[in-house]
Structure formats: C-alpha cells, structure tokens
Assembly symmetry: C2
Homo-oligomer: 542 residues x 2
C-alpha cells in the first residue's frame, strides 16, 4: 500500500480518529461499557499501533519516540530546576505494592503503548535525579547533555565493540581516545594499550590479571598452581574492587596486604617496603602494588613516585587506580597530585566519575603493548577470522574478558569534541574550587568538625555535624556512639524530604561522618550553602 | 540576572533574532561573506548557545536534543528501509584519514554544537545498521523500538545499580524480572538469586566463581592454593568465555577439559562421564560442567538431563550456558530443547540475543540463594551502610564483581511490558520458522551444501556455497583449500556492496562455512531469499 495514496491517508485518518475517540471514552466513561471500551482499545492498539518493523509502523514509531522524548526532555528540564526535589522517596514495599497504579509486575499479555508511556513517566517519577545540582551522593553525578545525546545515539546504533566489522567508527574512536589518554598519563607518544571496561572494578581486575600474566604467563594455561604464593599490596583506604579481584582471580583476600596510611589517608611508602620485605622473608612473591589516585572516602592521592621507587627496587607491577582521581590529569593546576603516574605499568581512569561522562565509561590503560592481548586472547575462530579483507589488528575484542562489549566510547568522544581538553580542565578546576569553598566554609564553623586536617586533595570533604545536644559532651564512648547515629538520621530525613543527598560512612575507628563529593558541573556555591544549611536544619534537634 | 525581568527578555529576544538571522543568512548567502557569517555564527554559538547547566541553557538544550532526535529518527527510518545499504564500508586507514571532513581526532578546543550534530550524522553514516532486516552477522541483531526508548530513558536517568538508595525503581525491576526468569527456568516459586551482568562472558565467569565458592569457600580468602586441582568440563563447541574464565580465575585453560560432540555439535554424555572418571583417577577434582543451550556456531543444545544425571552422580556444579538459546524458554513450541534446565545450579541467559533486547542485557541466574552474596561480598562501609532507614537487603550491589553497574534492566522490563510473554514467544517462533524456511530452501539447492544434516535446533543454519568452478572437483585437499576461501571472498564483496551481512568461520576440520543466524524481528522470507540470491550472485564466478 503506497503511503502517499489518498486512500491510505483517509484510512489512517479514520483509524486515528477512532483511536482517540476510544482513548477519550476510556478516560471519561465510568459505566459498565468501560470494560468493553478497554477491550476494544487494547485490541485496536495491538492491531493498529504496531511499531516498526510492522507494516506501516513508521508513523506510530515516530509518534511514540517523540512522546518518549517529550517525557525525557521534561525530566531533564526539572532535573536542573532547583525547585524540584532530588527524589521522591518510597520504601521498597510501597513501590512493590504499586503506588498510584504503577505496577512493576510483568504479565503475559502486552500493554498498550499509552501505558508504556505512563510506565516511563512513573519510572522517572520514583527514581533519583542524579543530575540535580544538589545530588552529591556519589562519585558519578551530573547529566551532561552532549554525553546524553551520545548515549542516545549509541543505543540507536546498538552495536558491539568486538570487531571493526560491526563497529568500525567506534573501534577507531576507542583507539584514538585511549592513545590520547595515554599521552596525558605521560607515556612516550601515547604508546601502550588499553580497553574500555564496564567500570572501575573490572578495570582494576584487568590490571591484576595482566600483572600476573607478565610475571607468570603459565598461570593462563596451568592455573595458580604454576605460580609461587603471590601477594598484592594496596592501601587500607583503597577501593574494595582490589579485594574483589584478589578473591575472584584465585589469589585469595588474605594474600592482599593492606598498607597503613597517614592521617590524610595516603599510603606510607615505608610501610609498603617493610611489608614487601616481610612477605619475601616468608617466601612469598610480591607481585603487584596499587597506588590509589583519589581514594573513595578521603580523596587521598598516594605518593606515586615513592611507591614506584619501591616497585622498581623489588620488581613489582605498579598499578595506579585513578578511577576517581584520574580526571585531575586534565587540569594543569591539579595534575601534580598524580606525579609519577607515568611510571605506572597500568592505570584505571573512569571518565564517568570526575569528568561527568554518563555511566558506564571506564578505561584500563597498560604501558606495555601486547600484554592485554596475550593475557586474554583465546582466538575464537567464529569471531576473529584472520582472512578478512581489512586489517584485522583492528579487531580488538579478543583483548577483553568480555565477548559482547557495550559501546562506552562514543559519549566520551563526543563530549571531548564538544568541550575540548580545556572544557574538561575547566570542569575539574571548578569542582575543586567548590570543594575548597565548602572546606573553608565549614572548617571553623560551629557544629562542624573535620575528619582530617588541611585542605582536601580531591573534592572529597569529610566532616561530622555535631548537633547542639552533643557539643558539650566530653570526648568518649558515649559521644562516639551518639555521634555515630547523627549522619544516618540526617541522611534519612534528607531523603524523606528529598531536598539533597550526600553520602556518609564510618572509616576505621572513625564513626559515621559525611563525605561530600563534587563532580556535578551543575553545582554552584549556593548549592553548597544549601547543603550546609540543610544539614544544620535537619540535625539541629538531634 | 532574573529570568523574568523585561530587560532580560528583551536581550534574549535580540540575541535570538540575531541567531536566526545568522542561521538564515548562512543558508542563503553564496558569496564571499559566507565565511564571515559562519565565523560570526560559530562565535555566537560558542558564547551564547551553552547547554544546561549554563544560565539560560534550557532553550539551547531542548533545541539541541530535538536536533539529535531528528538525526536518530531519520536513521531509524532508513534502518528499516530495505533500499538502504546495511553498511557503507571503509577501511580503517580511510576513516582515520578523515573522509569528507569526518575528523576522528580529539582536540584541545571545543567544537560548535553544529559540528557536534555533523559528527553524530557522520558516526551513523559510517557505521553498520545492526537493525537492518538484512543484517544477519551476529547473535544480537534488530532494533526494538520500545527497547530503544528504554535505553534512552536509562541514559537520561543515568544512575547505578549498586544501592536501592540511588536506583529504587530499577533495583526492584531487576528483582522482579530475575524472579520471573527463574520461574520460567522452572525453579520452584522462582526461588534463587541472580544479577544482570555486562554480557554472557561475565555471566559465565560468575557461574564458575560461584561453583568454586560453593565447594571450596576458602578459596575466597586463601586463593587457589587452598583447593585441590580442580577441573572444569565444557563442550568443544562451547563459547570461548568458559576458557577465558578458566584462565582469569586461576584454574588454567589446561584444566578446562573439552567434551566431544556428535555430528550436530551436541555433547556426548558418555564422553563427559569417561573424562570425569579419568580426571578422578588422576587425583583431580571435577568441579563444574557447562551444558550449552544453543552453541555459537551450530546452535546445538546439549542434552541437559543426561548431563545433569552425571553431575549429580559425581557431585559437580551444572551450569547451563543459555546466552544464545535461553530465549527459547519463552516458547511453548521450542522450550523442550532445554529440558532439564531446571536441574542446573546456574543459568546464563542473554535477553540481548534471541529476545532482541538492546545490548547489553545478560542475566546469571543461581538456584541457591546466598551464594552470589557469599562469593562476592566485601561489605564496603562506604557503599553499603547497614544503618539506613530502608530495608538494606535491597542493596544488592555487593553481590557483583563490579562496583558501579550499568542499568541494563529497564529496557528489558519495558519490552516485556509492551510485548508480554506472548510477544517474546511470537518473536522466537517466527525466527525459528524463518530458519526452517532457509534450511528447506537450500538443503537440496544446487551449489549449497549443509554443514550438518537435519533441521537445525536453533536459528543457526550452517552451509557452504560451492561456486560452479568447484562443483566438479573431487573431494580432497585442493577442493578443501579452494572452498575455504569462498566464504571470506563472498563476505568481503558483500561488505563492499553493503547489501547484507552474514558470518562465516571454520569449525574443527571443517573449512570456512557460512553461519546464518536469525534474531531480527524485522527479517522476512523475502530477506532470506535475498540473502541466498546474493550469495549466488557474488559467488557465482569464484
């Protein structure tokens, strides 16, 4: 049937009119015929409103997608509007019971497209606005519009990173971007290797695998039995993914040795050397050291150069976990905090954290070429045929522990195009300025106590709020126990009122404290002021 | 500056008028001043057209996003249009050199938003249309419109699966959907556990980790040294991710024992039992068996019940890798091919393959509750605070080997709502009907030879095309060598002409053959006819 024929257009007009009449009736009628109308409506929807690839599906598809976009743009508008709440909190059982008809259960029969749109609206309504200028809860915050457009395009292209054959443009973008990142790390001519992985934890896991392959390649075929007892070292403040990797990869968490830190959460190099010597004395083989560039809680930067000296001395792999702090490499003002990173054998760097790229976007960079391939390749004939017409060195999928791999590069590449390197630098400098503003605002403010002294190295500002009722209590167990409950209570009230969100946790012997982090480009000084006042308002009477 | 002030509104009016005047002039003028106007325009864009969160960024943001959507919907229209090519092939060096101004290099300075839109168009132009009705190259094909809308929403929500706190709706959706999948697998009341992971390879890796934890929990803390020599079993036709997992997790690929298959690619249970006995005789401990439900190349279903008998007899973990074939569980007509799946200890099932969900969407299902948590949890205080105001058993992030975890559930949940269980069933039945159609069309067709006899179990149809020049050659090395080159040559021509795409590979001692797979709901019999004729057209003179 030709789309342009008058006959067809008339048919479309009639069915569309009937559709809207049905929808209108359904909303207005409150009598017995409602059920009948509903049946007719669903039947109609099912038969006539089919999306592509259905015959004549183009019109309904475009209409449907535009309605979805309308919902999304309205959400985006509100996300940046400070008069909107960050979240509309409900307990799990409330959402499961189905608030205002929002039914999470799946059923055998299809729902109408109208209902699908309602489901989309409800999903956003009961979610959390991670792009809101007052959402400070996570290391990944914000909603970059160009990055978002990149994600929309990525899902529309819906392809897979394993071969050049089916992702030619994305594979090249990944390669160029990784090279650029390696140049910024400081490896000569950006030489080396790397891959985008589904998050920092997997990137860190890659680093341990590659280190093992470098020193004990036979583990790949013979297993851990082929190696002596290997030990790994990381800061007591480091991310738990290093521990997860040591469990998963067969090292065992007991063979991950935690390093002491100074008051600011930075590894003490002498402690590393002492523990390396101790391990060797026991006959173990020190294999791998993580230096964290930006710890999760304190935002501390381990002294990479001093750690690198020890790694060289004892022939150990040096991995820099810059999942959180790697972004600072983009800033001429702050990159000195990662001095020595160019001496690392591998680096984790998550653009989805400090650089505001939508989730997920994490890179593992490796200084020595070929290791990633050697460690992971299995040469599956059904995926990586050597007899293709193009240069198959671009089929990089066999480097990965994944087979299918989501396209994480495009949004990042597009943001880089739109902001330029200077744009990322401005963003990072601004976030660090904001955290300095917060630090200066509260360091001597009544009722606030800093968890560690001195200006934070990253945007992490860690502090206790002391309600008036606790201020006169002497230091001791009672004060500790009561203070431990303050942050959770304030956080709960914050979530119930939906005004802002910030994280808290204990650390070592320190009771629950707030950890403020700033990575959202939408945040301003007024939002910092708001947070401080909100904590005071909610916590005053505790 | 107050947005509502008359002064401000007047300014906006003036600058907007100037903007549109510039844009209009740029499109109309074909004289020397065009360059000047363009410079003015980009300067203007750069200064004034800042996106949110910039002040007054709402208007430019909405305009920009709508232009992106215009590009995407135009791409979608063409994707379903058979007169459009599947791809516009270029070699890596051509794309790297920058075709028609498409510059992949990143720079320090920002590009204008106009240029960003051009970059988006170019990215799609030089990519591959995986949703095209004639793209048969991969197990994941097609472009489901509701799934796509789900992905757009997911990226707009831009959150993370680790806690209920920041992803309340998505966490519950994941829980309900996993339960539903477990019910369909056949576990009583859908009991058990599971998680969505970044692809089938990682899901399979989870299964090996959990099996090891179940039988040798001390490996988590003490490493592989705490276990005896463990061996794993999988089909010689199984996916290479099992091999990758055995290397990564410290078992070693030599401790992965490959099982012989019958002519159709199905594991021979007696071979499993013989190899288990042999391993035990050597003092090794048989730990884990994968039964593949839908192998990558042949689409074979291993006999799960017979394998389960052996697993029970020798106390081994049974994992069913249904990454590709799991979807058949949705079909009353075809689910018998997975008979016995309810006896598995774990199941991988990728909705992003046979069920047409956009990439990535893969589930690992586990029959015994608590193992996933026990195996992977590290109880990081900064992420999983026990003293929250809601039921923290919904904070499921510590089950994962990841920390940040992309929201893969929403698109799947939304598609299930829109299609109903019956919709997935229809999709699967239709794809299998189409592959039967292809099989019947070519099994006795001149110039075609099947790789194995009988109707395929899945949508995989494996065949050689024999060009006329080879038809009279006697079976032997010369014929084999020449035949080996036929599929790559046809594939190369196919890609150069961009008309269709289908995969090829060798398998064991079989030379390169085509592997046709159908998972795209847009494909019809006419597309199958087209493929067959295209292969004949391109291969006739080889």
């Amino acid at each position: 049937m030709s789309r342009t024929s008058a006959h067809y257009n008339f048919l479309v007009f009639c069915t569309d009119t009937f559709y809207w009449f049905l929808l209108w009736s359904l909303n207005r009628t409150h009598c017995k015929c409602q059920r009948f109308l509903a049946v007719l409506f669903y039947l109609y929807s099912y038969i006539h409103m089919n999306l592509l690839p259905a015959k004549n599906g183009e019109e309904p598809t475009m209409q449907f997608l535009l309605e979805v976009v309308e919902i999304l743009t309205s959400y985006i508008r509100k996300t940046f509007d400070r008069s909107t709440k960050v979240l509309d909190f409900h307990h799990p059982h409330q959402l499961l019971e189905g608030i205002e008809g929002f039914n999470l259960e799946l059923s055998d029969q299809p729902e109408s497209l109208e209902q699908i749109l309602v489901d989309c609206r409800d999903t956003l309504k009961y979610g959390v606005r991670t792009g809101h200028p007052r959402f400070f809860n996570q290391l990944s915050t914000g909603l970059d519009i160009v990055g978002l457009a990149g994600e929309w395009l990525t899902s529309t292209a819906n392809t897979n990173m394993f071969t050049y054959e089916i992702a030619p443009v994305f594979v090249l973008m990944e390669q160029l971007t990784l090279k650029k990142m390696r140049e910024i790390v400081g490896w000569p001519d950006g030489e080396g290797d790397g891959i985008f992985s589904p998050g920092g934890a997997i990137s860190n896991m890659y680093s341990v695998m590659i280190a093992r392959y470098k020193f004990f390649p036979e583990v790949k075929t013979k297993g851990m039995a082929a190696a002596p007892r290997l030990v790994l070292f990381t800061s007591e403040h480091s991310h738990y993914s290093i521990k997860k990797a040591s469990a998963a990869l067969g090292f065992g968490t007991e063979n991950l040795i935690l390093l002491n830190t100074d008051e600011r959460g930075r590894v003490i190099p002498a402690d590393l050397e002492a523990k390396v010597i101790e391990a060797k004395r026991k006959g173990y083989v020190p294999l791998f050291v993580t230096a964290t560039a930006g710890t999760t809680v304190y935002g501390a930067f381990d002294p990479i150069n001093e750690i690198a000296d020890i790694c060289e001395k004892y022939n150990m792999w040096l991995h820099v976990d810059g999942a959180w702090g790697g972004g600072l490499l983009m800033s001429r003002k702050h990159r000195h905090k990662l001095n020595g990173v160019e001496r690392a054998n591998s680096v984790t760097w998550n653009p989805h954290k400090m650089m505001g790229v939508p989730l997920q976007c994490s890179a593992i960079l490796v200084r020595e070429r070929g290791l990633l391939q050697g460690c992971n390749s299995m040469c599956a004939g059904y995926l990586f045929q050597p007899d293709k017409q193009y240069d198959v060195t671009y089929d990089t999928g066999d480097k990965a522990i994944q087979c299918g791999r989501h396209v994480d590069i495009f949004k990042f590449w597009l943001m880089w195009k739109a902001k330029g390197t200077v744009g990322f630098e401005q963003h990072i400098d601004k976030c660090l300025d904001l955290s300095a503003y917060l630090y200066n605002k509260i360091k001597n403010r009544e009722g606030f106590e800093m968890v560690f002294n001195g200006e934070p190295q990253h945007t992490n500002v860690c502090f206790w709020y002391i309600p008036p009722s606790l201020r006169s209590l002497p230091d001791g167990e009672e004060r500790r126990q009561r203070l431990h409950k303050v942050a959770p209570k304030i956080k709960a009230m914050m979530m119930e009122s939906g005004t802002t969100m910030v994280g808290y946790q204990p650390q070592g012997d320190k009771v629950n404290f707030f950890r403020m982090v700033i990575s959202n480009p939408a945040a301003t000084r007024s939002d910092i002021d708001f947070l401080v006042e909100e904590i005071e308002r909610l916590g005053h009477d505790l």
